[in-house]
């Protein structure tokens, strides 16, 4: 419909004190693209995602979602965030609420949905991701993999047009990683536009339409996974991938 890219970032800069984390990020992502951000710890992947969701104020540059600039002054941050889902490494479910309450809270409060339609939608989503028997459970009594799937459903319940996933499998036991990656794979197959910060290189190779290598606060190299993992141009990218291979992570 619209020619505007799903997400467009220009000259994004972000520092914490003297520590420059993002030093001029430029990125343009089309609808239905799955972009994986790779790079060593501290390369700014998480900060970039938190900036896109306005959880971190940016120092300079602009971000537009669907052609709509969200970094302009006076923007309603709550309205922006309703269109952008984010899932965190540590799940961050609300421990005092059941799974159903976790999922329906934001649709009811932020989108003013009535309880019935919010719960119907929640049931549909929980069903789809194999969580229908956990509707009444509390987060403490779920496995890490289940918690993370609930967190993904919670974000999806807002019907976001863009999903940001921040190392969503890094806090999981190895045997639980698969179930979460399956969910993300299904989202990708369904056409969800996603930006994924990840250390799972095999997963990135399989699912991404584009891979971006972050280094020194910039996107040093980007391209389709076959090229990025097969014949990276930049020496830094090659080094990084060699370390990953040496650690048997690819």
């Amino acid at each position: 419909m619209s020619a505007a890219p799903a997400l467009e970032i220009e000259g994004l800069r972000k520092s914490f004190g003297k520590n420059v984390v993002l030093d001029g990020i430029d990125l343009s992502i089309g609808e239905h693209e799955v972009t994986c951000l790779i790079g060593s710890s501290g390369s700014g992947k998480s900060t970039l995602l938190r900036c896109i969701n306005l959880l971190e104020p940016v120092d300079a540059g602009r971000i537009a979602v669907g052609g709509d600039e969200i970094t302009r002054r006076g923007v309603n941050v709550d309205r922006v965030r309703r269109r952008i889902g984010i899932v965190f490494q540590a799940f961050n479910l609300f421990p005092h609420m059941s799974v159903l309450e976790n999922v329906t809270l934001a649709p009811r409060l932020a989108l003013k949905q009535d309880r019935r339609s919010a719960e119907e939608h929640a049931h549909t989503l929980l069903d789809r991701f194999g969580l229908s028997d956990k509707v009444g459970a509390y987060p403490d009594h779920l496995s890490g993999g289940q918690q993370q799937r609930v967190a993904i459903v919670r974000a999806l319940a807002m019907r976001p047009r863009l999903m940001l996933l921040d190392e969503v499998t890094s806090a999981l036991d190895p045997e639980l990683v698969g179930e979460v990656l399956d969910v993300i794979g299904e989202l990708a197959a369904g056409g969800m536009t996603m930006v994924i910060a990840t250390h799972e290189m095999g997963f990135a190779r399989d699912i991404a339409t584009r891979v971006c290598f972050l280094d020194g606060g910039v996107i040093l190299e980007q391209g389709p996974p076959a090229q990025m993992f097969g014949s990276p141009r930049e020496p830094r990218t090659q080094q990084f991938l060699q370390r990953i291979i040496a650690a048997h992570r690819l």
């Binding site: 961050n92 421990p95 934001a106 807002m158």
Partner: protein, 293 residues
């Protein structure tokens, strides 16, 4: 809820508590421990009893403080006066809980815009935690009605309650604040990332978790408040303590003090037990969920 997990770790906690109180181990050693504890308690009580009963002043003290006759005689009117203590306690508590929460929320507002409100909340908490309760009661209950402004209540009970609300809200707001600070910032990030406003996040995500965690220390302050209602008697309200003084002045017998003490203890000890029980339950829950993670 994970019933099995709760139950197993629960009994462990109960047992370790019991053995800590009795200073004993478990099993056969435990039974021996109970026997020793009972025996040593009996010996202790008998020893103290013998020493007191043989002291030179005991007959006079016995007649002055432990007279069954005067106890029976004074208990009904002191109990009636004690209802005023309970009334002061309940009214004050109902005002303290929301008012202190407001102070705590003001103090946790972020950003430079809210500096004046934050500063006000800090000054308030510092000031009213710093002045003696009895002083505030005196100043308000005698000073304000003395101004003679039309329409301003002159009841000492009214101003006593106001004083207790001011003092205890300062303490309770600090308890709330500790609870708010104990909720991890990632909870706020998660709620805001879903598009919830700051107010919605506070109401639905931060405060429910914060308040749950501070219920035991809140109850602790309740106990203090129930005792401090006696201070309102110093400005003339006929509550249990004041009634006790009136009774003992009339009878030249101090047994009524004992009656008043028993009435206070009848309320505060169950509160203290409830607090301990809640703390233990909280710990059990955390252990149960910790075992899962």
């Amino acid at each position: 809820m994970a019933v099995e997990g709760d139950r197993s770790s629960g009994t462990e906690v109960d047992e370790s508590r019991r053995s800590r109180i009795l200073g004993a181990l478990s099993g056969a050693d435990g039974r021996r421990g109970v026997a020793i504890a009972v025996l040593s308690t009996i010996v202790f009580v008998v020893l103290v009893g013998v020493v007191i009963a043989n002291s030179p002043g005991w007959p006079a003290v016995h007649a002055g403080f432990f007279s069954w006759h005067y106890f029976k005689g004074s208990l009904p009117e002191i109990a009636r006066a004690f209802l005023l203590n309970c009334k002061i306690f309940l009214i004050a508590e109902c005002l303290i809980l929301p008012f202190a929460l407001l102070i705590a929320v003001l103090r946790s507002l972020p950003g430079p815009v809210f500096f004046p409100l934050r500063a006000l909340a800090i000054i308030y908490a510092d000031f009213f935690r710093g002045v003696p309760t009895i002083l505030v009661i005196f100043i308000l209950a005698t000073g304000v009605p003395g101004l003679g402004i039309a329409g301003v209540p002159t009841s000492v009970v009214f101003w006593g309650i106001v004083a207790l609300v001011l003092i205890y809200s300062a303490y309770v707001s600090e308890v709330y604040r500790a609870g708010i600070d104990s909720v991890h910032p990632s909870q706020e990030a998660a709620a805001r990332s879903l598009g919830l406003t700051r107010g919605q996040t506070l109401r639905k995500v931060i405060l429910p978790q914060a308040i749950r965690r501070v219920i035991p220390p809140l109850l602790n302050d309740f106990i203090g408040l129930q005792k401090d209602t006696a201070l309102v008697g110093t400005v003339g309200a006929i509550e249990a303590f004041n009634q006790t003084q009136i009774t003992s002045d009339a009878t030249f017998n101090f047994t009524s003090y004992l009656a008043a003490a028993l009435l206070f203890v009848a309320i505060t000890i169950p509160l203290a037990r409830l607090t301990d029980w809640l703390i233990a339950r909280d710990r059990r829950r955390r252990q149960a969920s910790g075992a899962f993670a």
